[in-house]
Symmetry: C2
Subunit: 161 residues, 2 copies
C-alpha cells in the first residue's frame, strides 16, 4: 500500500478546520484506491456535538456508508494515531490501511497504549505512523497551549506555568 503525502496534507487541512472550530485538531481523509478518489473527509467534532465518540474517523465512516466504496479499498489518512475505539472500528470494517502522523500517548490504539490490530483475530489492516509527526505534534500543542475555551482546564493552566 503506497503512502501519499498529498493525501496526508489534506488530512492536515481537516485538522486545521477542527482547531479553527475549537476542537482538538484531528482530521481524516478516506481514499478509495479503486476509484482513486477521496470518498470522505472530516474532523473531530466532539465539542460541537457533545458526543465523545465523534472522532474524525467516525465522521468519515458515516460518509463512506452513503458511498459505493468497499471498505477493503479504503485507505485512511489521519494526522494523529487513531484511539483504541477508532482503531478497533477500522479493523472491524477491514479497511486496507491507516497512515497516521504523530502518536497518541494517552489513547492511541495503534501501538502507543496498545496495538488493537495485534489483538483482534480478524485484522487485515495495515497501520503505519510517523508521517509528518512534528507538524502533527505542533498542531496539538497549538490547541492545548492556546487560550482555547474548549481545551481542558488543566492543560491551559500548564500552558501558562
Amino acid at each position: 500500500m503506497e503512502y501519499s503525502d498529498d493525501l496526508m496534507l489534506e488530512a492536515f487541512q481537516e485538522a486545521q478546520l477542527a482547531i479553527d472550530g475549537g476542537e482538538v485538531p484531528v482530521g481524516a481523509i478516506f481514499f478509495d484506491i479503486e476509484s482513486q478518489k477521496i470518498v470522505a473527509r472530516g474532523c473531530n467534532s466532539v465539542n460541537a456535538t457533545k458526543n465523545a465518540t465523534r472522532h474524525a474517523e467516525f465522521n468519515c465512516i458515516d460518509q463512506v456508508l452513503t458511498s459505493t466504496s468497499r471498505w477493503e479499498n479504503i485507505v485512511v489518512y489521519v494526522n494523529v494515531e487513531p484511539c483504541i475505539m477508532c482503531a478497533s472500528a477500522l479493523v472491524d470494517l477491514k479497511v486496507a490501511a491507516v497512515f497516521f502522523g504523530c502518536n497518541n500517548d494517552r489513547f492511541g490504539g495503534c501501538g502507543s497504549v496498545l496495538k488493537v490490530s495485534d489483538l483482534l483475530p480478524s485484522n487485515r489492516t495495515l497501520f503505519k505512523g510517523g508521517f509528518r509527526q512534528l507538524e502533527a505534534v505542533d498542531l496539538l500543542k497549538k490547541f492545548y497551549k492556546g487560550e482555547n475555551p474548549n481545551a481542558p482546564i488543566e492543560k491551559r493552566k500548564l500552558a501558562r506555568d
Copy 2:
C-alpha cells in the same frame, strides 16, 4: 451501582430481536438512574446496515444523544461483554456502569482480550460481567449453530461437524 436483573432481561429481549432478524444476538439497554427510565434500547444491526460498527451499544448511544440524559447517569445492560471499540466508547462517554452477561473471548474489551478501562486514563466507568452468562452463551450458540445465512461460514461448518 446496583444491578437490576429486570433490566438485564430487557437486554436479552433485544438480543432475541437481533437473532430473529439474522444478527448476532447482542442487545443493550441504557438506563438513566436519575430519571429511573430506560432511555435507549437496541440490538446489533451489523448485517442489516452492512456496517461493522453498528453494535447494540452504538445504536443505543445514538438514541441517548437525542434525549436529555447525562452520560454519567447512564447504566448499560448488555448480554455479551462489549468489544474493544464499544468498551472504549463507553469509557470516553463516562457512563456510570456497564453490566454484561457472558464473556466475548475474541473481541471483549472488558477483560477477555484486554481491559480497556485499565488502559484509558479518563476511565470513570464500572464494568462488571457474569450476569446470566449461561443464557447468554446459549443464545450465541443458537445463532452460530443454526443454519442462519448470516452466521460466519466457518462457524456453520463447525456446527455441522
